[in-house]
């Protein structure tokens, strides 16, 4: 079951390499949050109740509901329905996304030989998700898509943590959650300001601060 969920997590990010619709991005972010919640439920017998409730809140309330809702609000306010004219054309994105996704399985094989304590499949999918999230950040022009790329990166980091069965102290977990929530709030706040300053919130508009060597 957990292998099916992990593959579903990866398929979601692969689908993002093929699409340009904002609604799909948000749906995939929410789906990944929910899969992370189910993976926490799977480990219910191995973690203490306090940590379980914290992680359940983080994945179900924050990653599945709050983050997608906040992103959706900005998308509807700024009327950005899709990522138009990315740096790499759609066909190129499909090819690169597929290659990266398949490379994740190669990583799986490599990790299973190096460190048997790591959940190799989840590790491989997390690594390919991270690479595709970076790809989205680097190749998409809309600033909101870049924020979504960042949130996908955070989901990949959660899967990576789960694959390594690493538990950070609760104080650190709380700090991380608070930081990421505040960061998302700041992203969306400044995105709103950028939208009211420039007609279009695209990376190409942010070019006034440049130096010549």
């Amino acid at each position: 079951m957990s292998q099916f969920l992990t593959i579903l997590f990866g398929v979601g990010i692969l689908y993002l390499a093929l699409t340009s619709r904002m609604r799909t991005y948000i749906q995939v972010i929410a789906l990944q949050g929910f899969i992370l919640f189910l993976l926490i439920v799977r480990d219910i017998g191995h973690i203490d109740w306090f940590t379980f409730f914290f992680l359940a809140f983080e994945t179900l309330a924050f990653k599945t509901i709050i983050v997608p809702a906040m992103l959706w609000r900005v998308v509807t306010r700024t009327h950005v329905a899709r990522e138009a004219d990315p740096h790499i054309p759609q066909f190129g994105s499909i090819v690169i996304g597929t290659v990266v996704f398949l490379s994740g399985f190669a990583v799986t094989d490599w990790v299973s030989r190096i460190d048997p304590s790591v959940d190799a499949l989840a590790f491989g999918i997390a690594v390919s998700t991270l690479i595709i999230a970076f790809f989205i950040i680097l190749t998409r022009k809309k600033l909101i898509t870049q924020v979504m790329g960042y949130m996908l990166m955070q989901n990949a980091v959660s899967l990576l943590m789960s694959s390594m069965a690493i538990e950070l102290p609760l104080l650190v977990n709380l700090g991380v959650l608070l930081d990421i929530f505040t960061l998302l709030f700041l992203f969306l706040l400044f995105l709103g300001k950028l939208h009211s300053t420039y007609e279009e919130t695209s990376r190409e508009k942010l070019t006034s601060l440049r130096d010549q060597p």
């Binding site: 190096i114 980091v157 930081d179 400044f190 006034s208």
Partner: protein, 468 residues
């Protein structure tokens, strides 16, 4: 007790400021916080170690960084008073400035006091969040652009650092937690593969925040758009705070017998930063951006010093100290110049010595301090690093180091003399500077002169303790 007070004060003091709505109260809180920070450093210097619930500790290893925060903060507070007064900021933005400053110093202090790498990460991310309102403070289109780049690039960088920390945790799994002391003590037992694998991620992540090339692109924008007293803090202390965490991880690799590999990453970043500094300083047209590129160059020198080890390690921390004070002084003075001449463009400023003698003298002395002219301590640190390169027989790197440092000196001198000499426009001569305009920078420069002429033994021990 002192740690708890230092960490809780800014959080508790920030809340009533929203109900009091008094500028005087806001400024008083800022001053009290700066004095508390300085008092805490003196207390720890006299008494030694203090621990709070195992997660925070002040000791000889972080005292230098805490002292630098206190020193720069004490200079930044009066400069902030003048900035807020001159700019005639609204009540709301006055409050935002003060609260952001409290939270910014809180997050930097928390990062330095943290004994756990995970907790350090939380505070480093918090420094980005707390300082973002400053970059946007002047609310120009360019400020908005700089803020977005700062928040986004630094957050992606810090996320990469977190991935590195996870790999480090995997290396330590079953051996110890992410506490620095445990990691260093148990370093030989850590998984070598994952330890080495974690390092590039941590270097790229925290290196982004430390402003080293090639992850430096946010730095010139943020430093030039922020209010000058904040630029002093960003350059003088934020970069050092990120470097502190990086150096702690470097120590873990060193203890694990991976010094050579770790040093290689530091050398690459160091020389890349020196190169970026040399190339962009020569072409800079804006003096705040010129100072920002100089920060990249100086962080590069610090990285090179740490990578070389030996006498260069001491030189790196001496350089870090001198850079923090010299650059803070220069940025605060740059704020005075911008106010007097109404521009940040180098071409728009001439005759500083004639327009305002105190600001002109501070600019000239600040340039001498940052350019490494004797007797300022940067001369000593750069000389020690060059000597270590000779001792290690790395003559190719020595040649590159000397050429790049000379190019930086030329670029800085060209801009500094152009601004200092010549005839001042009539409008720039109006009004005299008040002591609050020059005293904080003058004190920082006097301190630097004293350090360069005769480094006091207690301070030498504090600097040496960081590397031990």
């Amino acid at each position: 007790m002192i740690i708890a007070m230092l960490l809780l004060f800014p959080l508790l003091a920030a809340v009533p400021l929203f109900t009091l709505r008094s500028r005087r109260a806001e400024r008083s809180v800022l001053l009290i916080h700066a004095l508390l920070t300085a008092g805490a450093v003196i207390y720890w210097w006299l008494t030694g170690t203090e621990d709070l619930i195992g997660y925070f500790r002040a000791d000889r290893a972080n005292l230098l960084f805490l002292a630098l925060i206190a020193g720069v903060y004490c200079a930044v507070v009066p400069a902030s008073y003048r900035y807020l007064e001159r700019e005639k900021v609204s009540e709301l933005w006055h409050r935002i400035y003060v609260v952001s400053m409290l939270l910014f110093v809180f997050s930097m202090t928390g990062a330095i006091l943290s004994t756990n790498l995970g907790l350090f990460w939380v505070f480093i991310e918090a420094t980005t969040l707390a300082s973002a309102p400053f970059i946007y403070f002047e609310r120009r289109q360019s400020s908005l652009e700089a803020t977005w780049k700062y928040v986004f690039i630094c957050s992606v960088g810090i996320a990469i650092a977190f991935i590195g920390i996870l790999f480090l945790a995997l290396a330590a799994k079953g051996v110890c937690d992410l506490f620095y002391d445990d990691l260093i003590r148990n370093a030989p037992s850590l998984g070598r593969f994952w330890l080495l694998f974690s390092f590039p991620f941590i270097v790229v992540g925290l290196g982004t925040k430390a402003g080293v090339a090639p992850m430096h692109s946010w730095l010139p924008d943020a430093h030039s758009e922020a209010p000058s007293p904040v630029s002093a803090f960003l350059s003088g202390m934020l970069l050092n705070t990120a470097f502190y965490g990086l150096y702690r991880v470097f120590q873990v690799l060193e203890a694990a017998g991976l010094r050579h590999e770790a040093a290689l990453f530091f050398l690459i970043c160091g020389f890349a930063s020196l190169l970026i500094g040399a190339v962009y300083i020569s072409g800079a047209t804006n003096y705040k951006r010129l100072l920002a590129y100089s920060s990249i160059e100086n962080m590069g020198i610090i990285f090179i010093g740490v990578a070389l080890g030996g006498a260069a390690l001491f030189a790196a921390f001496l350089h870090l100290t001198a850079h923090a004070f010299a650059k803070s002084s220069l940025f605060i003075t740059a704020g005075n110049i911008a106010h007097r001449f109404g521009t940040k463009e180098i071409a728009g400023v001439s005759g500083l010595r004639e327009a305002d003698r105190s600001t002109g003298a501070l600019w000239g002395l600040g340039f001498a301090a940052i350019a490494g002219l004797p007797p300022f301590p940067i001369f000593i640190s750069e000389f020690l690093i060059a000597r270590e390169l000779v001792t290690q027989g790395r003559f190719g790197l020595l040649a590159a180091f000397l050429i790049l440092v000379t190019l930086v000196l030329y670029g800085m001198a060209r801009a500094a003399f152009r601004m200092y000499l010549g005839a001042a426009p009539a409008a720039a001569k109006a009004g005299r500077s008040r002591p609050i305009d020059w005293l904080p920078q003058a004190l920082l420069l006097i301190l630097l002169l004293l350090l360069g002429v005769a480094l006091p033994e207690p301070l030498r021990l504090i600097i040496a303790a960081v590397g031990s």
